[in-house]
Symmetry: C2
Subunit: 165 residues, 2 copies
C-alpha cells in the first residue's frame, strides 16, 4: 500500500511538471478555431453517408445536431448559429460475409463544423476541427479547411452534404 501511494504521488508530480504545450488537453480543441468534439455526437441523426475514393478509401457518415437537422428539414440557408455537423470516417473494407459489399473498417477521423457567424466571421461563419483518435490534428491541416469549402460549395453555405431522404 505504501509503495502504491508513493508511485501515485510520483505520477501526479510528473504530470504537474509536464510543460503546458505538451499536455494532451491542448489537443482536445482544434488549432485556429478551438473546436472540440461535441459530447453525444454519435447519437445525432444521420444527414447522409458518403464514399471517398482514392488514397482515403473511406466510408463516411455525416450526422447533425438538432439545430442542423431542423435547418435541413426547413431548407434554412445559411445554417443558423449553433449548427454542428459531425463527419465520421472509417476505412472502407470488403465485407468478409457478403461478396461485393463494403463496410466500415478502422475509424480514421472525426471532423466537426460549428456555425458561429460572429466568432468565425472570417471563415464563412464556420469553425472547423479535424480529430484522429480524439485529438486535433495540426495547424497546417486546419488552414486548408475553409479554402476548400469556399471553393466548392459557396452556394450551400460552405456545406457539402445534402440530406439523404
Amino acid at each position: 500500500m505504501r509503495l502504491l501511494s508513493l508511485l501515485g504521488v510520483a505520477a501526479t508530480c510528473a504530470a504537474a511538471a509536464t510543460p503546458l504545450a505538451l499536455r494532451a488537453a491542448d489537443d482536445d480543441s482544434s488549432p485556429i478555431f478551438g473546436v472540440r468534439i461535441p459530447s453525444g455526437y454519435r447519437q445525432w441523426e444521420l444527414i447522409a453517408p458518403s464514399h471517398e475514393t482514392g488514397k482515403f478509401n473511406e466510408l463516411r457518415a455525416i450526422l447533425g445536431n438538432p439545430i442542423a437537422i431542423k435547418a435541413y428539414q426547413d431548407a434554412t440557408l445559411p445554417f443558423p448559429d449553433g449548427t454542428i455537423l459531425a463527419k465520421l470516417a472509417w476505412k472502407r473494407e470488403p465485407s468478409t460475409e457478403f461478396p461485393g459489399a463494403f463496410v466500415p473498417g478502422a475509424p480514421t477521423t472525426v471532423q466537426i463544423m460549428v456555425k458561429d457567424s460572429r466568432k468565425y466571421a472570417s471563415t464563412g461563419g464556420w469553425g472547423f476541427g479535424r480529430f484522429i483518435d480524439g485529438k486535433a490534428v495540426d495547424r497546417a491541416q486546419h488552414e486548408t479547411c475553409f479554402a476548400c469549402h469556399q471553393a466548392h460549395v459557396v452556394n450551400h453555405d460552405y456545406v457539402f452534404t445534402r440530406f439523404a431522404p
Copy 2:
C-alpha cells in the same frame, strides 16, 4: 363548382369499387412477414454505413431503434424482441462538387428487420420487409431474405451490420 362536385363523387365511387386486392393499403406491409415501415425510423441512430457494389451500386445506412442500439452497446446476442433495424439505400452518385467523392442519389429501397422470436420462429426470430417508394415488394423477393442471412451470418444472429464506432 357543380362540375367539381360531380367529379369528386365520381372519383370517390371509383375508389370504392376498386377490388381490395388492388388497393394500395395492401402494400404497406410485407408479404409472408407483415412487416411495416416503422414510424420515425429516419430519426433513429446510425449503426453503420455501407457500400454495395455491382448492379446495385448503392450507398446504404443502417439505423436502429433504441432497443437495437442498446443491444449493440451491450453486445447482446441474440438481439432482444422489439429490435428493429432499418437499412436505407440510395444510388451511389459521383459528387458534382468534390472529385473522387460519391454521395447518395435517388433513394432505392428501405429494408426493415423486426425481431419477434415467437412470431418469426421459423426465420430465426426475424421478420423482413423490403419497400420501394414506401410499398412492399413482391412475395418472391421476401422468400429469399432469411435464406441469405442464414447462409452468411448465423454467428451474429443473422444480422450483417456491426456497429461503426
